[in-house]
Symmetry: C2
Subunit: 122 residues, 2 copies
């Protein structure tokens, strides 16, 4: 890649430098955030999180019935949510119950509000 694309005379070099600096400062935070958002930006996973908000805990086959999806499909979503600390699991006999973790409540709260208070369109 070329070093510079903006060769127009009006180009504000200081502005560009300033932006580069500003972005480099938040680069890591952006990556961390987008990593989490990419999890939440899936309808199935957001539904799982949403319903776990009120239900305390649900097992895989509960969720499979609720979401009308196959068990393995649900299980794979749950693994992702668990890997990123959105949910935790507890085994009880042969069934495994999933529940919300507190780790990302702050991130999730605005979404749940949007969903609940503007059900038709956001």
């Amino acid at each position: 890649m070329k070093e510079t694309n903006c060769i127009r005379k009006e180009a504000d070099v200081d502005q560009i430098r300033r932006c580069i600096t500003r972005i480099s400062e938040v680069e890591e935070a952006v990556d961390t955030l987008t990593d989490k958002l990419s999890l939440v930006s899936n309808a199935t996973r957001l539904k799982i999180l949403f319903v776990l908000q009120t239900e305390e805990r649900l097992c895989v086959c509960d969720l499979s019935d609720i979401l009308n999806m196959t068990i393995p499909a649900v299980s794979q979503h749950l693994r992702k949510l668990k890997d990123r600390d959105f949910v935790k699991s507890e085994k009880e006999g042969q069934t495994i119950f999933y529940s919300l973790r507190n780790d990302h409540r702050e991130l999730l709260a605005p979404f749940f509000n949007l969903i609940k208070h503007q059900p038709e369109a956001i």
Copy 2:
């Protein structure tokens, strides 16, 4: 798919029904939200939005320099952001300046806060 996966005796049929109802009520809101989140959950696009927050407006080649990416790559991200009303564009001669729209400020605000106030880890 089978109608029911949960055949265990402890299965709480009422709970499952309740969840199905609750989810059906927010289905549309969830889709609308995840559609927007999937846009924001990309590091390049979040950076564009972040930097446009303070810079008022930037042209495509500015952003290409700032993000160290090719012009077409940036242009394609901008199109997505524009299609979903995150940004607007104004032509001035042969350069096209992009700036933030107000439509999704409410959705974006928490992200910008997270990025700015916890730069190391969220």
